[in-house]
């Protein structure tokens, strides 16, 4: 059954193809190709939402993306609820379920609408002037109330099951906007063979040809021409045509963000289709063909449902076959609304009257309206609208005052003129210029390689538009080196509109109780803007922020120019002097999902795993995140908690041996005849005399003298070093080294290669470590004489090449076995099997931390924090005293870096050996002092040491090395802990176990 307001045969939809849908629980029938808006209007539903502040009933203002009122929630299922969807954009599908928002208990009876009655109190910026007493009431009472009343829809509360896709694209000519201008520009460019992308936000191309019944191009109806032209473009290999795609952001150097809505219009999108697709396009040239947006008239109660833009009513009729009323009134200040009246009249709809604010307009549309018998009133204004949930009348008065006349209507179509859509142009950092004659901002100075054509450029008339657009498309192609050879579309008939007005019409009145809306969604009225000016707001940005004009979800597409004009008039200044607010991305709201694209779940950030990871996983290891790496933290056996596991691991390592996956350590191969010279400059230590086959612990500083990284470096050959870095520091250390090599020391013949991932590294530490490794090694003499502590050899293990380091981060005899990564797991398993014979364990990063702390070995980034010098850390011994240069040599002797009283790294023992300090706890000298206390340091590392049978800690303490034996205090919330300052070595102070 055809809906009541659908006119049989009218429009372009196939009216037999029906789709059922619901709104607020009521079922309706629509037609395929409808928007939710056109389908509701076909059913006579105008009441669609409530406004933000006053909760006034609202209907559809527009038929497009500029819609401020018709925001609904679309619910596919419990996880796929989308708030604030514009019903004028949402395409209908069978089964669509929509709900109104921001009302309680129902759309037609909304309790909060009482705010409308209290509205005189809720003037612009009222909240800045009250709610201040008593002080606590803001947070506890007023703010929660305001918050509950504000907001529009309801945020989803479940993880989104849909997915979002992304694509980078490049083209020669990007055409934004697929109306007549955009299509013409795309045709011109495409015919030259250059790569073209044509984009339009609507489901079908054509732009204003959707409603312009008077346009004829190449002997076709304008809309039909658009379809055939786009069909032709789609067949061309060099052209990509994107519908339902919004260009939301124009960034530097012709980089444009597009969001394509892929499946929101489908009944069953299926699992593979993304919901949306982000296109990030780099274009050599951009053609902006973004059209213009009609403005409403600003008069009293101009927000009643049924009052809408004239072009919207025309779109609903000419495209969707829907009439917005039976007896419509028209209120206009320009010609375009006449066409709406004429089309409706011709479709059999009653047109009560046209009210034209202009005194003596002339032109063919006016003649035609008269000829059709429509009442036309010049020099008159609609001073208010009647009705509440639906407009019921318009009251007309001569614009300079006089007798009122009330005309019953069920819809009012308005047009104050057209605002060129310069949003993207402005985002491109182009400067708009005000044309005083046509009262519009149009593109002025360009900042990027782009050009505006058609209505967005202030070009009137289809013929002129197509001429301009085609030429621009051809020129864009020519600019990138191709010449046009096609045929320009010929305009056979077109509509021509003259100007309009900006600001408040007489009906916005001096009457202070009148609500003449400028910004519908945010409930900003003409008098709010005047009030802002009276309160000293002279910049349009202040007016905007004070009144919130243009800050709603439509971002002022219909309201900005009116607001500006009213502010200018109130200030008594010309419009350009008051200025236009900045246009910011996005053009229309875009989902977070479309921006995020693939970067969710496992693709949020790479998870790096070592070659040995699967083994650790099988052993039930618990992992910790270190940068992007997953590292085995500890290996609990059945029934063990972390504490028990770590204690066992620590004891086992010192008793027999332990295996540790050290693969994540950064590794850099430094190769070239000047390798040692380079090392001398990048590390504090001396390197020239390090024998090949030997290792040294190196410290790297930043130029400011603070410790940047550390690690053991092995010299494999006179010209080859194997450098290790911290896990997290690997990329930045490499960058730091490259920076100096390329820009400060380019004369050095040396190259750097990251080999972090070439080698899996298995640390075998403990008295039995050699016994475990030796049986598997070939070609390396493992004796203490041949392979002393801090040495490195190349050979084979399990038949696989290895770089075998003898080194220790535990204080025990120890080795680090480097093998090619793909062999890492198998070599680990072989070592594990050997280890089992000796009772060895696998240990994780926590035990590693404890073991090294027992020996007072520091961890850069934990015991140092970017403000610690080598001296502070007790590492002066690692600074080459005879060196004349290295990075950091000057920075580390700045006055405050060598001053007395600096924080120095020391050991701490709690008086009660059972008490384990908290890492990060602060240290004071006087525990009795009042807060704020003077803090003299903090605990950097702290553990229970099963090997020492007590807790141990490292700390940075002011003048720490002069405080040996001193008692200090760690005040905790419940108790103050007494500690004694000690040396940093807690276990095997003489270091005998390195060879034990």
């Amino acid at each position: 059954m055809i809906a009541a307001f659908r006119i049989p045969g009218a429009g372009r939809l196939r009216q037999a193809e029906t789709a059922s849908f619901s709104f607020d629980g009521h079922s309706y029938a629509g037609v395929e190709g409808d928007t939710l808006a056109s389908a509701l209007l076909a059913n006579g539903v105008h009441l669609i939402g409530r406004s933000f502040k006053y909760h006034r009933p609202r209907g559809f203002l527009s038929a497009g993306a500029e819609e401020p009122n018709a925001l609904v929630e679309i619910k596919r299922d419990s996880a796929r609820k989308t708030p604030n969807v514009r019903a004028t954009v949402q395409e209908l599908y069978d089964g669509l379920a929509a709900q109104s928002q921001n009302r309680w208990p129902s759309l037609s009876f909304d309790v909060s609408a009482l705010g409308d009655i209290a509205s005189p109190l809720l003037s612009a910026g009222f909240y800045y002037k009250t709610f201040m007493w008593p002080k606590s009431a803001w947070k506890n009472f007023y703010e929660p109330k305001i918050r509950a009343a504000a907001g529009l829809g309801v945020a989803p509360d479940q993880a989104d099951p849909d997915h979002y896709s992304a694509r980078f694209a490049h083209c020669d000519v990007l055409v934004l906007g697929g109306g007549a201008a955009g299509i013409a520009a795309a045709l011109a460019a495409a015919e030259t063979g250059v790569r073209v992308i044509l984009v339009d936000e609507q489901a079908e191309f054509g732009g204003s040809l959707h409603f312009e019944s008077g346009a004829k191009i190449d002997r076709q109806d304008g809309f039909a021409w658009a379809q055939s032209a786009v069909a032709k473009l789609k067949t061309m290999d060099n052209v990509r045509v994107l519908s339902r795609t919004t260009a939301f952001g124009y960034y530097a150097q012709n980089f444009v963000g597009l969001v394509e809505r892929v499946s929101d219009h489908l009944q069953n999108p299926g699992r593979d289709l993304p919901r949306e697709r982000l296109w990030q396009v780099r274009a050599k040239r951009v053609v902006l063909a973004t059209g213009a947006i009609e403005r409403h008239m600003v008069f009293a109660d101009n927000d009643r449902p049924g009052i809408m833009l004239a072009s919207a009513a025309r779109t609903y009729l000419n495209h969707y076959g829907v009439t917005v009323g039976r007896n419509v009134g028209v209120y206009t200040a320009n010609d375009s609304a006449y066409a709406a009246a004429i089309d409706l009249k011709k479709a059999g709809v009653g047109v009560a009257a046209i009210v034209d604010l202009r005194d003596n307009p002339t032109g063919p549309v006016i003649e035609e309206a008269r000829a059709l018998g429509i009442e036309v009133n010049f020099g008159r204004a609609v001073i208010r609208a009647g009705g509440k949930l639906r407009v019921s009348s318009m009251t007309v008065q001569p614009k300079n005052g006089g007798g009122e006349r009330t005309i019953p209507v069920d819809a009012i179509l308005m047009s104050a003129g057209w605002t060129p859509s310069v949003h993207l142009f402005s985002q491109s950092r182009g400067k708009v210029a005000f044309n005083d004659e046509t009262k519009r901002f149009v593109p002025g100075a360009y900042a990027q390689d782009c050009v505006s054509v058609g209505a967005c450029n202030g070009t009137d008339g289809l013929s002129a538009t197509i001429d301009e657009a085609y030429a621009a498309g051809a020129k864009a192609a020519k600019d990138v080196g191709a010449n046009a050879k096609g045929n320009k579309p010929k305009v056979d008939a077109s509509e021509n509109w003259s100007r309009g007005m900006l600001g408040a019409a007489p009906g916005a009145g001096a009457d202070t109780t009148v609500k003449a809306f400028v910004d519908f969604q945010n409930d900003v009225t003409a008098k709010d803007i005047r009030q802002a000016v009276h309160e000293g707001m002279r910049s349009i940005e202040h007016v905007k922020r004070f009144t919130t004009n243009g800050m709603a979800t439509d971002q002022g597409k219909t309201s900005n120019m009116h607001g500006l004009a009213i502010a200018a008039e109130t200030l008594g200044k010309p419009i350009p002097q008051v200025g236009l607010t900045t246009f910011r991305a996005p053009y229309t709201p875009v989902t977070f999902g479309s921006i995020v694209g693939h970067a969710r779940g496992p693709l949020f950030d790479p998870t790096r795993k070592t070659a040995i990871h699967p083994w650790a996983e099988r052993q039930g290891a618990v992992f910790e995140d270190v940068g992007q790496w997953k590292r085995a933290w500890y290996f609990p056996k059945a029934g063990e908690d972390m504490h028990a596991a770590v204690d066992r691991e620590c004891v086992t390592v010192r008793k027999t041996a332990g295996l540790f996956d050290a693969s994540t350590l950064g590794k850099i191969e430094v190769v070239g005849p000047d390798a040692a010279k380079f090392m001398e400059l990048l590390y504090t230590n001396p390197w020239e005399k390090l024998e090949p086959g030997r290792c040294r612990y190196g410290i790297m500083l930043r130029e400011d003298g603070f410790i940047y990284d550390d690690g053991v470096v092995g010299r494999l050959a006179p010209d080859r070093f194997h450098v290790t870095t911290t896990t997290g520091g690997a990329p930045r250390v490499m960058n730091h080294m490259e920076d100096y090599l390329q820009t400060e020391f380019p004369h050095l013949n040396v190259w750097l290669t990251s080999i972090t991932e070439q080698w899996a590294v298995i640390a075998v530490q403990g008295p039995k470590s050699r016994d475990i490794i030796a049986p598997l090694v070939e070609g390396i003499d493992m004796s203490d004489e041949a392979l002393p502590h801090m040495s490195v050899r190349e050979g084979r293990i399990c038949g696989v090449p290895t770089r075998l380091f003898r080194m220790s981060f535990t204080g025990e005899r120890g080795f680090e076995v480097n093998v090619p990564a793909d062999y890492g797991q198998a070599v680990w398993e072989a070592l594990w099997a050997e280890g089992q014979k000796h009772g060895a364990c696998a240990y994780g990063t926590e035990a590693m931390h404890v073991l090294r702390a027992e020996k007072g070995y520091i961890i850069v980034g934990q015991d140092t924090d970017g403000t610690v010098t080598p001296n502070d850390a007790g590492l002066d011994w690692a600074v080459g005293k005879k060196k004349t240069d290295f990075v950091g040599i000057r920075g580390m002797v700045r006055p405050d870096l060598v001053a007395n009283g600096r924080k120095q790294l020391v050991g701490l023992k709690t008086k009660d050996p059972k008490v384990v300090l908290e890492e990060g706890a602060q240290i004071v000298g006087d525990s009795k002092q009042a807060i704020p206390m003077t803090m003299i340091g903090h605990v950097t590392s702290s553990y229970w040491s099963e090997n020492c049978g007590r807790s141990i800690a490292l700390a940075l303490v002011a003048g720490g090395r002069d405080r040996m034996g001193e008692t200090l205090y760690v005040p905790m919330p419940n108790a103050t802990i007494e500690v004694e300052v000690t040396g940093m070595v807690f276990f095997d102070e003489k270091g005998e176990r390195l060879n034990g």
Binding site: M132, A150, L152, V154, Y251, G536, G861, G920
Partner: protein, 417 residues
């Protein structure tokens, strides 16, 4: 200055809100003032306000090249907190926080300071160490900051994803309950109104194009697009443009200016009760009174005064937001914008006298200056009035970069090992 109150609103409602006076006047500049403040952002206006109210210096001009509050004051994500690590930072930010509490009453302007709590998330062991270090230091400095388990964090902020399966699971959080947000425009307007009522001249659309100095080096005034304006004391509070102004006086600064972006979502009903910050995944989020999710992004990597930034920076931020709050992918970004933040090498501000007599500078707040507004203005007014820093801002000198006495909060957070 007519007092604002609910009664004033009711009175005005009766007469159509036509009786409101200007919130601030827009006078023509005089030839000379006692003090010129360059920059009518929150910090500059607060400085002028406290010069007038605390020090009785009212012959003051605040010069603004654009519109007041139009720089970073009107572009930031309005997060307020004071749980900084070092005594120096804690000192100045907590001084500010104490002033926030009561600022609406002080100014008779509702700045909507909302102590809804600022939560900072720990995602790994290293984060825990760093954040606990803050908690302990804060406690001994008398600053509230408490440690929360993941479960307690979720209870405080229900949308938070604390799944162990998250890429970077939440392992705990700190909470400063006195932290929160305020209405940025109201801060600028409230201070402007208060200063203007006490005789301070706020002169907008007046760009400083030169700093004049006497033969002895001392400041004598500034050249502007509206002519020369004399003053023996000039305070530069120009945020991203601070080094540009200081260069005019011949002082080269340890500053670089970067684009910083932020965005808001469409407004929705209350869903997000506090402020959540994560340094590890780089995300900062709260919900405004209007219902918009307010989200701070990071800086671009290059010096720029363009007030725009790259889309990939917003992507990076929204990736993190949607990781922590997976229900927000269907939310829509309504508006994004950029500011220019001036960053010092240690990411702490400079609030100090300069080598030029009569020239003072308040800059380098980087990405976090809004929260300091009242405190910064208060001590900077002191510094100008007394020609001597207040004890609270005494550590924030320019000279610290020469001597090495940095206040490096970021370095103290270190990087994962």
């Amino acid at each position: 200055m007519k007092k604002y109150s609910v009664f004033a609103i009711a009175r005005e409602a009766m007469r159509g809100h036509k009786g409101w006076e200007e919130q601030w006047s827009s006078p023509e500049p005089k030839k000379e003032y006692d003090v010129i403040i360059v920059g009518a952002g929150g910090h500059g206006l607060a400085t002028a306000y406290y010069l007038a109210t605390v020090h009785g210096i009212t012959n003051v001009a605040v010069l603004e090249k654009g519109w007041l509050g139009g720089g970073n004051t009107g572009r930031n994500t309005t997060i307020i907190r004071s749980n900084y690590l070092y005594d120096e930072s804690a000192g100045i930010y907590d001084h500010a926080l104490k002033l926030w509490d009561g600022l609406s009453q002080e100014l008779n302007y509702n700045v909507m300071y909302s102590p809804r709590g600022v939560m900072m998330l720990a995602h790994n062991v290293h984060d825990i160490q760093v954040l606990k270090r803050h908690v302990h230091a804060n406690r001994l400095n008398g600053i509230d900051n408490e440690w929360l388990t993941p479960e307690a964090a979720k209870e405080f902020c229900p949308p938070l994803n604390i799944s162990r399966d998250a890429r970077y699971p939440v392992m705990g959080a700190t909470l400063q309950r006195r932290g929160g947000t305020a209405r940025h425009d109201a801060v600028a307007w409230g201070y402007a109104r208060g200063a203007s009522a006490r005789g301070v001249h706020i002169i907008q659309n007046c760009e400083v194009i030169g700093v004049k100095r006497a033969p002895n080096g001392a400041v004598t005034g500034v050249e502007t697009t509206r002519g020369f304006i004399g003053a023996r004391k000039v305070g530069v509070v120009a945020a991203g443009h601070s080094s540009v102004i200081m260069n005019m006086a011949g002082v080269r600064m340890p500053l670089e200016s970067y684009p910083l972006q932020a965005l808001v979502s469409e407004p929705v009903k209350p869903v997000f009760p506090c402020v959540v910050m994560s340094n590890t995944v780089h995300a900062y989020i709260s919900q405004s009174d209007k219902g918009e999710l307010v989200i701070g992004a990071g800086t671009d990597q290059y010096v720029s005064y363009s007030q725009t930034g790259g889309l990939h920076i917003l992507q990076h931020t929204l990736d993190a937001i949607c990781e922590m709050f997976p229900m927000f992918t269907r939310m829509k970004m309504l508006r994004s914008w950029g500011g220019i933040v001036d960053v010092t090498p240690d990411r702490s501000p400079i609030l100090a006298k300069t080598p030029v007599p009569g020239l003072y500078v308040n800059c380098g707040w980087g990405t976090g200056g809004f929260k300091a507004t009242p405190g910064s203005g208060h001590v900077f007014a002191h510094t100008i009035a007394k020609d001597d820093p207040h004890p609270i801002n005494a550590p924030f000198t320019i000279e610290r970069f020469r001597t090495g006495r940095l206040i490096d909060e970021a370095a103290a957070a270190a990087v994962a090992h």
